[in-house]
């Protein structure tokens, strides 16, 4: 792996993998100015594939498909990233299209995109799990952009103007800190030269300070979502926890693994699924953004099991707080966490994405090695300490179920 700073000051992180048929590139644009109306960046992100000055949406999609080039943008809480993946021989063609999308998108199909987005959101909200998650995040983050979920987008979308989108686009291109990562079998190809050719006119704004504070959660909140024909209740309970930049990051990762993220051997899986038969899906997750992070537990269960499931969560969370984890379980969780990273970074695209993710957070593209060391140092006391510090009475609990079961809660 190596890092080069391009002429325009954008860091490029590179890794060569021999005998791989496809190149994979990621281009990160950090969001420097949080959106005021829910959906601005979602719309901008969609408009990136809706035509450039020389290619309309159809031609663009057709050219990508004709060359079997995967090229798309993704909007996340803190950044918009472009991903490009294509057969080695088509790499320059891919770069040319990507640079056209980034620099020359017309953003003209704004009204049509608004209609399409509304329709897709409505379809999505017909899925009970999506509906429950929507309520959970919008309560957890209230008016902060991290809480701009589907229903908030539907609330704001008609007030978003084309000027808002153009403004967001200009800020993204001109003001955002940027990172490029590339993984593939380059051979004698001058990949740096190619990147300069297509992207040297895009400026970096490294070191830009972003203000996007998240208000603290001061009390617990319970959100009940009525869905009268649901066969299962959807239950999500979440706490605010420190992010990747905190000293407790590795300890929370290990705690999450042993509680509900290691697969079939995690505590929640064994206790709530295998022993009590409460669910098919039960797990925990640690979701990390730049300015906040969440530790969540989730179960989908027959509505009459809501109380038993919540008690089950409490028992398992209390155990982590009160009883030191055994050396064996701790070692197993650490090895699971470290070993599984290989699975999630097997393809060139996964590696490229991970490198850019770390570089974007100024942790260094090779942060994975540091992470492994941090994990190895986590002790049983650390697990107990983070559990007691962060899993407290300030949480958001969302339950979706038929009305009669919500009343009983």
């Amino acid at each position: 792996m190596k890092k080069i700073i391009l002429d325009n000051n954008i860091p490029l992180v590179l890794k060569e993998n021999k005998n791989t048929p496809r190149h994979a590139l990621c281009f990160y644009f950090k969001i420097t100015e949080p959106e005021k109306k829910a959906g601005v960046y979602t719309l901008l992100n969609r408009l990136f594939l809706q035509g450039t000055k020389t290619r309309d949406a159809h031609l663009l999609a057709q050219e990508l498909d004709e060359n079997a080039i995967d090229c798309y943008s993704e909007m996340k809480q803190d950044f918009i990233r472009f991903k490009l993946q294509c057969l080695n021989e088509d790499f320059e063609k891919g770069l040319e299209i990507l640079s056209d999308i980034i620099k020359n998108s017309t953003l003209e199909d704004f009204e049509k995109e608004v209609i399409k987005l509304k329709g897709e959101i409505q379809a999505e909200l017909d899925e009970p799990k999506a509906l429950a998650m929507n309520s959970f995040y919008s309560c957890m983050f209230k008016d902060h952009p991290y809480g701009h979920t589907y229903t908030n987008i539907l609330r704001d979308i008609d007030s978003i103007t084309k000027v808002d989108i153009i403004d967001a686009y200009n800020k993204l291109i001109e003001k955002s800190p940027k990172v490029i990562s590339l993984v593939g079998d380059f051979g004698s190809e001058d990949v740096t030269g190619l990147l300069k050719k297509y992207f040297s006119d895009i400026k970096n704004n490294a070191g830009c300070k972003i203000k996007n504070d998240v208000a603290e959660l001061v009390k617990s909140e319970v959100v009940k979502v009525e869905k009268n024909d649901a066969s299962q209740a959807q239950i999500i309970q979440g706490w605010r926890v420190p992010t990747i930049f905190d000293k407790d990051y590795a300890a929370i990762m290990v705690m999450n693994t042993l509680l509900g993220a290691s697969g079939l051997s995690s505590r929640l899986f064994l206790e709530l699924r295998d022993k009590k038969g409460l669910a098919y899906v039960v797990r925990s997750s640690y979701e990390i953004y730049d300015h906040s992070a969440l530790f969540n537990v989730y179960i989908a269960t027959e509505p009459k099991n809501i109380k038993t499931s919540l008690e089950g969560f409490k028992i398992e969370l209390d155990k982590v707080k009160n009883i030191p984890v055994s050396e064996t379980e701790l070692e197993n969780a650490k090895n699971n966490l470290i070993g599984k990273r290989q699975f999630f970074s097997e393809t060139n695209l996964q590696q490229s994405s991970l490198m850019a993710y770390y570089e974007d957070k100024s942790l260094g593209a090779d942060f994975e090695q540091t992470f492994n060391k941090m994990v190895k140092e986590v002790s049983a006391e650390d697990i107990q300490r983070v559990a007691n510090s962060y899993i407290n009475d300030r949480y958001v609990l969302t339950v979706l179920a038929p009305q009669q079961y919500l009343k009983e809660m």
Partner: protein, 444 residues
Amino acid sequence: MENITKREINYPYLTQPVEIYERANGHKIVLAHKEGGLVNVSSWVKTGSINETDENNGISHFLEHLMFKGTHKHKAGYFDKTLEAKGAIVNAATWKDYTFYYVTLPEGPDNAYLKEAIELHADMMLDPVIPEDEIGPAFTLGDDKVSQKRERHVVIEEIRMRQDQPWTKIYNSTNFNMYTKHPYKRDVIGFPETIASIPRETILNYYKTHYTPNNITTVIAGDFNHEEILELVCRSFDFQGRENYNNPKHELDTPVSEPKYIELKGKINTGFAITGWLGPVARDLKENIALEIVNVVLGEGQSSRLYQNLIEKSDMPVFNIVTTDFYNFKDGGNFFVQANYKADKKELALELIKKEMTNFLNGDMTEREFNKAKKKLKARFAESAETVSDIAENIGYYMTVCDDLDLVEQYPHILEEITIDDVNKIANKYLGLNHSVTTVLLPE
């Protein structure tokens, strides 16, 4: 070394040929070389809903869950815990033609993790105890007094989860109505009533009947010494003379002769529709490739016809989502058009889909669309050669559903040679509107 036959197949984008071994008892072992530190171990069993009846529908999938509940050597949980402590992803899946079990994990120092995974995987495949207390007592649905809630309840929760998914609901209805008698008509997961009451003995007998040497293919993908691993797989998979079993042949179903329409209601806000057709048997590679081309042209991605004509270029918003899908099955694949639309535009939505299908069947696919689809299908091989899991899954599919890996070698040639005329003829053979079954789901 025991008596074993060997063949080699050139698998696109892999740096070495894939080796296929067949043992005297019929057990097949496939070794695929892929650089990198990850390995995949999987076994594919030729059973799924294709071998089920109304009485035992769901048994293949229930058995899949119960295979993880311990062996005579290792109690329940040991397999998951031991391998997950090495960073493994452990799971299984059941579909119409097969059930497969897999482990993906780092190879370990001197392939130590791979070897342990093979031994534990073989033990699980050949010696499951399926203990009564892990299955849980049989019960009547709705009985709140059940105390021992074990795996029966887990599977019933999986069924509930699917009942809440609008797409799954209409897929099942369309699938059921596309067939008259073939076992494919049943939903793989079965019904809660069956899962609540099916006795252990029935499950055990089902295991003994179907998990036989000739019905199992074991695939190992990764970077390892082939001779050593082959020897280990043979040693670990000791079937102890287990008798073979050949799946009965089912008569292929004939499609409906006039369009069939089913309407369902739910507490939703948008409309959902799936139209389905019966397609060619999996071993007819040319016909399958033809329908894969139709799938790309009609309904895959933003450049596809349905997306462009019905969403992108539409003056009036009718559709939120419109795509196609093509599934390959041993006794005949399925082609689907899937749509989500404004709830009050149902008639128009169905009419517009019909019009697009008619235009296509009248042969208006352009050379450009045709070539795009061919390029995409070619690149798919490069994609599926990127991870040990995808390589193993592709090999497992061909070995189990198509009975051999020879089709992988033929695929690029047939794809190269197929003409636009071939595709149009094959599309007309299968996708006539009179042969279609449509289910819609609308707000109550």
